[in-house]
């Protein structure tokens, strides 16, 4: 039983590593408000189709998403972030004057 579980786990790890070779990245700028915004992303973004990794830079107001281009595209990812309540911009200077996301 333990071996099976380990094998499944190893498979999951390696498949995600192998997939990264052909992956692409995209950077969006978001109107983060507080760490609750981070929590919302952490709990939802991993389950978007095609997302393989992401890095959040809160002071820089950005998110860098790595994705599999066969399974999704930047526009889908943008829509996913909008569904989580964010305003999404492509340039740093465009997000500065946007009101922060409402969290409560």
């Amino acid at each position: 039983m333990k071996k099976i579980l380990l094998a499944i786990f190893a498979l999951a790890l390696t498949s995600s590593v192998m997939a990264q070779n052909r992956n692409q990245t995209v950077t969006f700028f978001l109107n983060y408000h507080c760490s609750s915004c981070i929590r919302v992303i952490e709990r939802n973004l991993p389950h978007e189709r095609g997302v393989t990794n992401y890095r959040i830079d809160m002071p820089g107001k950005s998110i860098e998403i790595t994705y599999n281009p066969r399974r999704t595209n930047p526009n889908n990812l943008r829509q996913a972030l909008i569904r989580l309540g964010f305003e999404v911009r492509d340039r740093h200077e465009d997000i500065v004057n946007v009101a922060p996301r409402r969290c409560s």
Binding site: H33, N44, P46, D57, G60, H92, P100, S104
Partner: protein, 758 residues
């Protein structure tokens, strides 16, 4: 940055119930001048509450208890600043530093399952929701498997009750708190840990040593504070189902209604059952598996809670209602051979418990606030252990009022008063067996001997606490006076805590304090009813002890994304007066008496935690603990029974980048313990044993599936019951437990959030 986001669920323990407004300005250095920064974000770390600076860089922000004390200021192009707001600080002047490497990506760290709170003056381990999800954690008793600080063991081989230990002392010396209010006391001691479903909890905070005087005169070895899920953060609907190969099943439903920004209601419900008779442990006379006793009682538990939260800028009201009912049936298997006179040796336990907790905070002015806490418990316990039955009812009431005033920057004064009322009515009935009433009159068959006990105590108290804090140094000094009307005794409780930042990454903490406790001998030692030991009582009194502790915590950066932390701690407890539960004078008796003879417990613990992979993808925790816990028994200073000197722990938490797969492996080694007098039916010391658990979790958008194995090696105490073939005889004893009674267990569970994650 890493430290800033060290945890996503920090809860402020030191300032639990006040709400106040903090204002200040945010500016940035330009040349030699500070220029105000408009539109900077100012928010409490890990909360929903935040604000922005105005045109002149000014802001004011409300601090409620849920906010914690870490304020984050962020503005594009500048380095984030996190400020710990100490009691008394206001009119902050925050100067942001220009971020010279704008394109450097800063990683926000994932929530860790278990961490050490760095800023609190008291050393505190925090188990978060992520930590609770690493193991089956069906209830509070099962939530400490990854903790080196708290030991959990089976109390006896009959009832399924669990006991905890901290600092080499039984859990009775630790204060169990529900959101900083006294919780599992008195009659709740034997089974109370099993009445807190794992799914209800958002986090558990464990602190060693005595706590602040605000929380009372108890809590000698430490405090375990649990927090339930809150309307602000809980998912709209959470459903948890659990099943294991022993056919135990469990369902938890948590429904959350956030009515508006200020008001929310959360409803919790739990049902669990285990209904199979199983007898694998022990051996019968023909050396076959099974000693004729169920390994675990059949049980059914229903549990409900509801909480109402109201929070606005000035006011906080949190009301929590809880109700628990549980039935346990165990003892001899129904197919065992009954005793000709007394029938089967049966165990049953029925508990009904209702509780209400209320917490209110009101801001009086910019510098002062007032808080109140109320708690009331009614509990009814009917239990039978073979020839003895024990029924008890308990009513207790707790009130605490706290006034806080910020004297000046960095100095805070707390004043308050508390009142406790405890009433316990107990009756112990015993069948007229010769060994129970040695030398007693000859009872006609069918009669029972009943002993009644009643204890009512009122404990009024007053306290004062002074806090001095600056960036490097915190000192908290407190004193309280309480009077116990039952023992007509005054209790003077001084407590001190200090924290010193030795360097940027090193923190030294110390604590010193006195604690008292009013014992309830039978309820607290109910597991001894699972033996033929005769209970012999002497007068009881208040327990009185001192505790001293010292801690050092250091974090080193391995590289940009990985850290290693060391935590080393020493604690010493010395009793001045103690209730001795003497199991050594005779193997057929237990003597309860007060003693002021030498009794102490020393504890040393080292914990190392490191990232083996960046981004918390693989976190390794290693811990070791040594206890030297001794008391004077009939003139000899000997080790406390059932206290393991050594414990080692290794925990691996491995996950992929997106945290959609997770593997958690826990390895433990529990050292051998000294056993009480069993008239050589068992050795004087037990052997240590290892224990391994593993769990794998897969997370989907609205669903999490977890499956795991507990006790992989199936290490078991094979002979848990002494004289199982003669349970009504004088040498029967099912309370000598020094190993695991849980057979290897495979389990699977789901966590389903049908309306998404919050």
């Amino acid at each position: 940055m890493k430290h800033i986001f060290l945890g996503l669920l920090l809860l402020c323990l030191s300032q639990p119930i006040f709400s106040q407004t903090i204002s200040g300005t945010v500016s940035a250095r330009e040349g030699n001048r500070n220029v105000p920064v408009p539109f900077a974000n100012v928010y409490w770390l890990n909360t929903l509450s935040g604000t922005m600076t105005d045109d002149n860089g000014r802001f004011s922000i409300t601090q409620t208890p849920a906010d914690g004390n870490r304020l984050v200021v962020s503005f594009v192009g500048y380095t984030n600043d996190t400020i710990e707001i100490r009691p008394g600080q206001n009119n902050l002047r925050i100067i942001l530093e220009q971020n010279i490497m704008l394109d450097e990506v800063q990683i926000v760290e994932r929530q860790r399952g278990h961490f050490i709170d760095q800023l609190n003056p008291q050393r505190m381990d925090v188990i978060t929701i992520a930590g609770l999800c690493q193991l089956a954690c069906c209830n509070l008793a099962e939530s400490f498997e990854n903790s080196a600080t708290v030991d959990v063991s089976f109390a006896d081989a009959i009832s399924g009750a669990r006991q905890i230990q901290m600092l080499g002392l039984t859990g009775l010396h630790s204060q169990l708190m529900f959101e900083n209010m006294p919780f599992l006391r008195g009659l709740s001691a034997p089974f109370g840990l099993l009445y807190i479903p794992g799914s209800y909890m958002e986090s558990i905070q464990i602190s060693k040593g005595t706590a602040s005087v605000i929380n009372g005169f108890e809590g000698l070895a430490g405090q375990i504070n649990i927090e339930y899920r809150k309307p602000q953060t809980a998912d709209p609907l959470f459903i948890n189902l659990f099943y294991d190969n022993h056919h135990r099943m469990e369902a938890n439903v948590i429904q959350n209604n956030r009515i508006n920004d200020n008001f929310g209601i959360t409803i919790f419900a739990h049902y669990s059952q285990f209904q199979r008779e199983k007898d694998h442990l022990g051996e019968d006379s023909t050396r076959h598996h099974g000693d004729g006793f169920m390994d675990k009682p059949k049980s059914r538990q229903f549990n409900m809670a509801a909480r109402l939260n109201y929070v606005d800028g000035r006011r906080t009201n949190i009301t929590t209602l809880m109700f628990t009912t549980e039935d346990r049936v165990g003892g001899q298997m129904s197919n065992a051979t009954p005793h000709p006179d007394f029938g089967l040796w049966n165990f049953s336990n029925r508990v009904n418990r209702g509780q209400i907790f209320q917490k209110n905070g009101l801001l009086l002015s910019e510098n002062s606030s007032i808080g109140t806490q109320f708690g009331a418990t009614y509990m009814d316990l009917r239990t039978m252990y073979g020839p003895r039955s024990y029924d008890a009812t308990e009513f207790n009431f707790y009130a605490n009022i706290i006034y806080e005033n910020r004297l000046s920057e960095g100095q805070t004064l707390n004043l308050g008063a508390s009142f406790q009322h405890n009433n316990v009515e107990e009756s112990l009935r015993q069948l007229p067996i010769m060994w129970i009433n040695p030398g007693g009159p000859d009872f006609p068959t069918g009669t029972t001997v009943t002993t009644q006990f009643s204890k009512t105590e009122n404990i009024p108290g007053v306290f004062a606490q002074y806090t001095f804090a600056n960036d490097r140094f915190t000192l908290v000094g407190g004193l309280r006076y309480d009077y116990n009307t039952l023992y007509r005794q005054s209790m003077i409780t001084p407590r001190f805590h200090g924290r010193l930042s030795v360097s940027e990454h090193g923190t030294l903490r110390g604590s010193l304090g006195r604690a008292f406790r009013s014992p309830i001998p039978i309820a607290e030692n109910m597991n001894l009813l699972a033996s033929s030991r005769v209970f012999l009582f002497n007068e009881t009194g208040l327990e009185d002890a001192w505790n001293f502790g010292l801690n050092y915590h250091h974090i080193f950066a391995i590289d940009e994304e990985r850290t290693i932390s060391f935590a080393l701690g020493f604690y010493r407890t010395v009793f001045r007066n103690q209730l001795i539960v003497n199991l050594d004078r005779s193997h057929q008796q237990v003597h309860f008496y007060m003693s002021d003879e030498r009794s102490f417990s020393n504890n040393a613990q080292l914990e190392i935690r490191t990232d083996l992979l960046p981004n918390s993808n693989w976190v390794l925790t290693l811990a070791g603990r040594y206890n030297d816990s001794r008391q004077t028994i009939d003139g000899n200073l000997i080790a406390r029974p059932f206290v393991a000197p050594w414990k080692f722990l290794m925990v691996n938490n491995i996950s992929n980048n997106l945290n959609t797969w997770q593997l958690d492996i826990t390895s433990q080694f529990h050292g051998g313990v000294r056993l009480p007098n069993t008239n050589y039916a068992r050795p004087t010391h037990s052997e240590g044993f290892p224990m391994f658990h593993a769990q794998i979790t897969r997370r989907f958008r609205n669903l999490e599936i977890y499956a795991g194995v507990e006790n992989i090696l199936n290490s078991l105490q094979n002979d848990p019951i002494i004289n199982a073939h003669d349970p009504f005889g004088p040498n029967f004893d099912a309370s000598v437990i020094y190993g695991s009674l849980m057979e290897r267990k495979f389990y699977i569970g789901i966590r389903w959030m049908p309306f998404g994650r919050n």
